[in-house]
Symmetry: C2
Subunit: 211 residues, 2 copies
DNA sequence: TTGCTTATTGGTCGCACACTCAATAACGTT
DNA sequence: AACGTTATTGAGTGTGCGACCAATAAGCAA
């Protein structure tokens, strides 16, 4: 017990320490919210003094922005990996939509709501939000374009269709802090239905056996 | 200048004072955000000591919840007044959707994002959010039901259609703190298009001459 | 081994917040 | 005109935050 009170001073390379800080900040952001990303909190989690965090992030706002960026881009990779283009676009899209439901996705929705709200007051975060929105949109759009090229999807404007799907997902995610359950299927599956309609797919084509 | 330093003590009836407090709190919430609803800030706006606000709201969280409730219900009345059922449902719905665009509606979207996020940490606010969501849903649903009865709308499930429209509106409003402009028409009009499709209306039927 | 760079500490400062409570004065009642 | 109720003040407490900085020690280089 007394050993934890007096901790030995461990000295790491700036790159390693910085990465460590950003990673735990991202984890805190995802699990508890961006306002919990404080110098003290991250320092505690790392067994380090708050001043050290300040040393790497002279402005705390910068750390918050970085935490969001890291968390959001990590979740995008989990939700819709760039992956090898071997898998069919229909399956990839079905997989993505399938992952936009459940407790784990609720955490992501919460993070987005959190970031979109906080970006009202924090310019650095606002930039990161715009950046991540572009990244998410880009990832989905290139999937859709690939599907169009392969003849699996049919849409006059892949860019518009992409945003339409994302708008529905944002709308569904808006309630991640309240109800989330007990939605009729016609609502819970709105993203699927929208994608199928806008991409010229048969009804249910995106609810298939893909995870 | 010295007159403002030493202010005369004005004594109001509890009901009047409380209403005054809630009104300014709601205004602050709408214009600057729920985290700006603090004892000090509301006290300053009213030319009164913070302790007085505490006297009426022993818990500050209660005031924040009340501020949101008042602001949200006021905006609902402005957006979709219960009004006399003389006006046709098509016109009322068109009016409502027409008001969901522009800088003024952005402020409302910001408030919703704010409240949905903050309700993650504040139970009292969470209850108010649920209450207001029910109020908004109820108002729109009864409009739709009336339209169905009058034969203007056609939908198998007014309740589901209501939520579908609201989901799209939430999705569009999610970006109120960032881009909002420069959206292609097919996106900006998503709520209109969704409503027209789900209610069996002709394309453009909700974009008419109604304000 | 000696020395230098700098990662890391420990402590401090100022600010904003909610909350508490005894003292005070405005106002209706008598 | 005196009284009593209570709305309102003033002052103080404790907490958590970011920012700042001199002192310290870890580890690399000479």
């Amino acid at each position: 017990m007394s050993s934890s009170v007096q901790r030995p001073r461990v000295r790491k390379s700036p790159a390693a320490r910085r990465a460590e800080i950003v990673d735990t900040a991202a984890a805190v952001a995802l699990a508890e919210g961006l306002e919990c990303v404080t110098l003290r909190r991250i320092g505690d989690d790392l067994g380090v003094r708050p001043g050290l965090i300040s040393h790497y992030f002279p402005s705390a706002e910068e750390l918050v922005a970085e935490a969001f960026g890291t968390a959001a881009s990590g979740e995008l990779d989990a939700l819709l990996p760039e992956g090898p283009p071997g898998i069919s676009p229909v399956r990839r899209l079905a997989g993505f939509l399938g992952r936009t439901t459940g407790e784990e996705y609720d955490a992501i929705s919460r993070l987005w709501i959190n970031a979109r709200h906080l970006s009202r007051y924090r310019p650095a975060l606002r930039d990161r939000v715009a950046e991540q929105e572009a990244a998410w949109r880009g990832r989905l759009e290139s999937l859709i374009r690939e599907g169009v090229e392969r003849g699996e999807f049919r849409t006059p404007d892949p860019s518009v269709t992409t945003v339409q799907i994302l708008v529905v997902l944002d709308g569904l995610g808006a309630h991640a802090n309240t109800d989330t359950s007990g939605r009729p299927a016609a609502v819970a599956r709105m993203a699927h239905i929208t994608a199928e309609r806008e991409l010229g797919l048969a009804e249910g084509a995106l609810s298939g056996p893909s995870a």
